[in-house]
Symmetry: C2
């Protein structure tokens, strides 16, 4: 029987690459996306497109309303910062959603336990990232330890829960090159925090700037931008 | 300024006692309940009644649909086990909801970070409990470590996140006596996994049996049962 993996899939560049890596490793992919009160539906559409293209066995979209707590530009009535000079400032930005990866991984853990699956993939990255605390390797290791105490599958079985982060030490350019080698179509992915209704990225938020730099460093044109 | 605490409030006996304990300790209470595809609304109504009675500053009910994953008698089309002999069998029961406390605590963590609050209270108990892995002290400690790595409040501030479990070493009878001393009205709380539409408890599920034994050991009549 093929090994199963739960893959957190936002429809962005990173998580799409992670899904391709997990598939290459021989896993049957159970993709999990969230509608979490983010400002736009472009992420969810992109996740659906990625799921169709990349042979994902099942794609579940969970509705969670983080707006009930507020506190982030991604879920609240706060402007997404634009950087007209093309530079990302230091520090944790206002686009940080409190405990978001903790919540996402908790749902992934619940699904993994129901599926009797031991591997959860998440596209966190500690190199070209936005300074969120829940993207660091020490957070992931700590979540993994907790997950093994939290569940029957983690405590009763010999094969415990593993949180896999294949991108953790890669630059954005390396991620893009890896994905291209695996046949990923980045044209269907989206990274922008604040796209137009058409889905066109703003080109000025943290996520757009990180993505643009990654494609520039990789020496590849971003196929998403060629659509506009 | 009064210290704030996020309290996970199910409307059951344990979490209601926890809210009373936190209030006695001087905290301003932010109560968090979940509508998670459980079979009945009685829990949510009870949580609302408790919030009104016990001077809670804000009560947020979050909709999360754990039915999307299935795998539990509490959220799926599986019968809640009844024990006509009044005895609870060994092992993890089918009423276990995979990763439930992990998900609940993750939401509490998100709200705590938005509120800039350092204390989260949860009514887990390692004595008279149903054998769920996510009720054990080692799980709670591990979650606390993870929470401090997951958040800006945990990593930047000197006062880190604390997961408080005042009931962890108490018997059900001790919990009840503590609550009575703090003025808790257990008549508005509910524990049953499978109540009638009227809210009347089944008296035969794990939760009813643990509750009945607790009141018997405390030498107190259960005020909830006097309503039916």
């Amino acid at each position: 029987m093929q090994k199963k993996a739960v893959v957190l899939l936002s429809g962005g560049l990173d998580s799409t690459t992670v899904a391709a890596i997990a598939r290459k490793k021989g896993y049957e992919i159970y993709a999990l996306s969230f509608r979490y009160g983010q400002r736009h539906e472009a992420e969810i559409s992109a996740a659906g497109a990625v799921a169709k293209l990349h042979g994902i066995s099942r794609h579940v979209i969970v509705d969670i309303d983080l707006r009930v707590f507020g506190g982030s530009a991604l879920t609240d009535d706060i402007e997404v910062p634009k950087h007209l000079d093309g530079k990302i400032p230091e520090g944790v930005p206002i686009t940080y959603v409190p405990a978001r990866n903790t919540i996402f991984l908790s749902y992934a853990l619940a699904w993994a336990e129901v599926l009797q699956c031991h591997d959860i993939f998440i596209g966190v990255n500690a190199v070209d990232y936005s300074g969120y605390p829940d993207c660091r390797p020490e957070f992931i290791q700590s979540f993994e330890s907790m997950a093994n105490l939290a569940t029957v599958i983690g405590t009763e079985s010999q094969k415990s829960i593993s949180i896999q982060t294949p991108l953790i030490d890669m630059t954005k350019a390396e991620i893009i090159k890896t994905g291209i080698a695996l046949g990923v179509d980045y044209g269907v992915t989206t990274s922008c925090y604040d796209p137009a209704d058409s889905g066109e990225p703003c080109r000025q938020c943290d996520a757009c700037l990180l993505r643009a730099q990654g494609f520039a460093d990789a020496g590849i044109a971003d196929p998403q931008l060629q659509k506009y």
